[in-house]
Symmetry: C2
Subunit: 144 residues, 2 copies
């Protein structure tokens, strides 16, 4: 398999991005198994813990998922008692997704598990390189 690394594909930044992300997803999902979460459901939970009180539509846009995927993720988190769909105080026609106390506790545990997974994913980098990578990715990721 390593012999395939010599090809021109391994030079393309988009390929390297996809492969690094595949490693990160696999490590992250494995780390979250004991907490009954996946990287995607964790992202929804983390956003539901913030002060922003996102709607499902905002979650879909921000996480670049289909609305139907977000509904399924919120259903799963709600069934576990980690989030609630509640009426937006500013616009009573909109439902927003807010973490429960159990959800906030689970989010902290999950964040610790993901931080540990990240130390494995990024173990080949020094702290300075890791910070440089995060800054470069932020520039690419948030350029819309």
């Amino acid at each position: 398999m390593e012999r395939l690394l010599d090809g021109s594909l391994s030079e393309a930044p988009s390929f390297l991005l996809a492969r690094a992300n595949a490693r990160s997803l696999a490590q992250g999902n494995a780390a979250l198994v004991p907490l009954k979460l996946k990287v995607r459901s964790y992202a929804v939970l983390a956003l539901a813990c913030g002060p922003e009180r996102p709607s499902q539509k905002e979650l879909a846009q921000f996480l670049r998922l289909d609305p139907s995927q977000v509904v399924a993720l919120v259903d799963d988190l709600e069934a576990q008692g980690l989030v609630e769909r509640t009426t937006d105080q500013a616009d009573r026609r909109t439902k927003v997704v807010v973490a429960t106390d159990i959800g906030r506790e689970r989010e902290r545990e999950a964040r610790a598990a993901l931080d540990e997974a990240d130390t494995i994913v990024f173990r080949s980098l020094t702290a300075a390189e890791r910070a440089a990578l995060a800054a470069l990715l932020r520039s690419v990721a948030l350029d819309d």
Copy 2:
């Protein structure tokens, strides 16, 4: 939606990686529509153009896909006349995936289209930053 960016999720390197990859995939797939390819089928085609003559099993391992996904991708490329499944000369029990002449031509066109997509995805970076990002991603992506 932008208000969600202030949360701690936007600090996590794994989240930034996922979001940058989502942008890259969307741009890449859009660029490949006229060539009847997607980023995933392009990766298979590009590897089939190399001198390594990969088996379907090697393609699955290298691209971190299920074997069934690789079979579907090779089926699609074969139906378009871009690759052939042929017997490995070193091990006659193994089938390897090799690009046809039409496939090699399509691969060159696709690579040009993806290079153009990459200029959009990475437009916020200078050439030096882009090279630094590629080097850091390579270190993370190929650390197995």
